[in-house]
């Protein structure tokens, strides 16, 4: 059991699963009747493993991450500071000067006998970006599962209905009536637009709507898409003897779209929000500064160097006076 948990929380395992999904997908595009691969138990098994791995990776890491990010060590030893990727001594600055330069950072302070410990950090959310993305992906996969399971719950969902010109069809408690269908053309003879005009009759209420290729309509929890038409005689009269509509109800859609947006937000936060931290130890002998960042550290450290140089310059010049 321990081995299973260890695998599921391992990043290497996650990447291996992704690699298998890549291979299966590539094969699937060449396989005749490709859906066979993507609907297969094998494929679904690996997608399930992928979901499990994503969930476990985040579940096991989020709590310690929260503790580290939200409750950072403020009173630190000189050794801790010297082990940081950036550490240096600084002089000729006051607490307020530092706080002005790094405004926008969240500052913490604590005192111990003659020494003051300051700590500042910014961009905490950046560390959670990957976990937000993981959560979004899981939401999306759940939406896919819900849509697949409940999409067939409504007997009208995932059906094609063919309505003759002027005719109507009973759909789940209301009636879809086809008033007309029109195909318009460009001068070149290519099709410009397909448009079906329908009336939805629900008891005493009726509404007339147009359905176009990019404009499906939704009513009563079902969505109606243009699917096809009988082209015999259409070019001359501009009408069709019958029009086919695809009816769908995807209950998982809200989850799919929300999950996608959350995943995208997580990706962008992870890639663009660096989590930067600065520690400062003020004692009678010296002022030490240490820093760390999970991305774009070069620029961050350069900025601290510049600040230190300015401070030293200021001290030097005031000594001249």
């Amino acid at each position: 059991m321990n081995l299973v948990i260890k695998l599921l929380t391992s990043a290497k395992f996650a990447v291996a699963i992704i690699a298998v999904i890549i291979l299966l997908s590539a094969v699937g595009t060449f396989y005749p009747g490709g859906d066979v691969v993507f609907g297969s138990w094998l494929f679904l098994f690996f997608v399930g493993l992928f979901a499990l791995s994503t969930a476990f990776c985040s579940l096991t890491r989020v709590v310690p991450l929260w503790r580290d990010v939200m409750h950072p060590p403020i009173e630190i030893s000189d050794q801790f500071l010297q082990k940081l990727p950036y550490h240096a001594s600084i002089s000729g600055v006051t607490v307020s000067q530092i706080k002005v330069h790094w405004k926008g950072y969240k500052w913490y302070e604590t005192r111990s006998s003659e020494t003051t410990f300051s700590f500042a950090q910014k961009g905490r959310i950046g560390r959670f970006g990957p976990h937000i993305a993981h959560f979004g992906v899981l939401m999306l996969l759940l939406g896919v599962a819900v849509g697949t399971a409940y999409g067939y719950a409504n007997p009208y969902s995932n059906t094609i209905t063919v309505i003759p010109q002027g005719g109507s069809q009973q759909v789940d408690g209301f009636v879809l009536q086809l008033n007309g269908f029109n195909v318009s053309y460009y001068d070149s003879g290519a099709v410009r637009d397909y448009r079906a005009t329908v009336t939805l009759i629900d008891g005493s209420q009726a509404q007339t709507r147009d359905i176009t290729v990019n404009g499906p309509i939704t009513y009563g929890g079902l969505t109606f898409y243009l699917y096809g038409y009988d082209s015999n005689g259409v070019i001359e009269s501009g009408e069709a003897s019958w029009v086919a509509f695809q009816i769908k109800n995807d209950a998982g859609l809200p989850l799919v779209w929300t999950g996608s947006v959350v995943a995208l937000a997580g990706i962008m936060i992870a890639l663009y929000v660096p989590h930067k931290r600065i520690w400062i130890i003020w004692s009678n002998e010296h002022i030490l500064v240490g820093a760390i960042s999970n991305k774009s550290s070069a620029r961050f450290f350069r900025d601290i160097d510049k600040f230190r140089a300015q401070a030293l310059d200021h001290v030097a010049r005031s000594k001249e006076i």
Binding site: D35, A190, N214, L264
Partner: protein, 354 residues
């Protein structure tokens, strides 16, 4: 002169400047004369200006954005990679990258020039606001991944040459004539590889993926929203959808490899495979699958660029893929032999000693 002729003129001038610029960059690659790279870069700037004019004109007289048929999409893609190359050069000097950018620009624009140019009015499925969002964002992501590939392949070449002792680690004085060995070493250090450090190349690759990955994510999501409206299904494992997902997954692996610190060399190879996936998504699905359809039963799906020779496209796909694989093969390191290793050390030691 009517507006269609103006567009064609702009296109052809751009094509010509990319050709001459490519020749200049190839000469630069072999002679290492800086001046050639500078001239090549200036020409590319001109080419970009003419392409911008041509694309804007095209949008105007075609009545739809210039990324509907093959001719337009390939022109637009060329414009994005040249544009990306120019943006890179705004704050730093990446002009020598033109050695790879200019020939590719000429190749893609040249391929476009072989396609029928007459603008086709939008078919019903394309009459949507998503045409303005989904397509250019996807193409921009391909552009970003190309830059990542460029940086990765250069990283791998430099890494190989450093490990074989043929390059010094950083910029080196160009005119050192004190010894044969030194001159051989110094000739390698200037030019495309010598100018950039391994870290710089690794960083450029990462930053490019950091741009391309969110763009591709948005491209896939907006594609799904569009598919839901137009085809009644946000995902139908259409080859284009499947391969764009594969590309996304490869770069997902890249990002994990980088954040888990599995090594820049491995990351560079992953990014390169990611670009191969981009070529399959962009070209393969559109041309090779319909080409194969005449011989075997494959599904070509609902995505397809209007117009566009399938045979020419397949040949172009094979050419680009072949070139990419050749480059990657050339980056593999020779296994160190007992006689080689000490020699390599002596060369660099001797050079640094002086």
């Amino acid at each position: 002169m009517d507006i269609a002729a103006l567009e064609q003129l702009g296109f052809e001038i751009a094509l010509g400047t990319y050709l001459i610029s490519s020749i200049l960059f190839i000469l630069y690659f072999s002679t290492k004369k800086r001046r050639l790279a500078e001239m090549g870069f200036t020409l590319v700037c001109f080419g970009f200006a003419f392409q911008t004019f041509a694309l804007a004109t095209r949008w105007f007289f075609a009545g739809h954005p210039p990324w509907v048929n093959t001719y337009e999409v390939m022109s637009f893609f060329t414009w994005t990679i040249v544009g990306a190359y120019l943006i890179l050069n705004v704050r730093s000097d990446y002009r020598s990258l033109g050695t790879l950018v200019a020939p590719l620009a000429f190749a893609t624009l040249g391929f476009a020039s072989l396609q029928p140019t007459n603008p086709t009015p939008l078919m019903p499925a394309l009459q949507s606001v998503w045409l303005l969002i989904h397509v250019p964002i996807a193409v921009l992501s391909y552009c970003a991944f190309f830059i990542a590939f460029l940086a990765s392949v250069l990283y791998l070449f430099k890494d190989k040459q450093l490990s074989e002792g043929r390059l010094m680690k950083g910029p080196h004085k160009p005119r050192d004539r004190s010894a044969n060995t030194e001159r051989a070493v110094s000739r390698e250090t200037i030019g495309v590889l010598g100018k950039f450090s391994l870290d710089q190349l690794d960083d450029l690759a990462y930053r490019s993926v950091a741009v391309g990955f969110p763009l591709l994510t948005i491209g896939i999501i907006t594609g799904a929203i569009w598919a839901e409206a137009a085809w009644g299904s946000y995902w139908s494992w259409d080859p284009k959808e499947t391969w764009s997902l594969i590309t996304w997954l490869v770069f997902l692996i890249y990002l994990h490899a980088k954040t888990q610190n599995w090594g820049s060399s491995l990351a560079a190879y992953i990014a390169s495979f990611g670009f191969i996936s981009v070529v399959c998504t962009f070209l393969g699905v559109a041309y090779v699958l319909p080409f194969l359809e005449t011989y075997v039963s494959v599904s070509t799906g609902l995505h397809g660029y209007v117009g566009g020779g399938v045979v020419a496209g397949t040949v172009f796909f094979c050419g680009i893929l072949g070139f990419v694989l050749l480059l990657l093969y050339a980056t593999r390191k020779k296994p160190p032999s007992a006689s080689e290793a000490p020699q390599a050390v002596t060369n660099t030691e001797a050079a640094t000693a002086r």
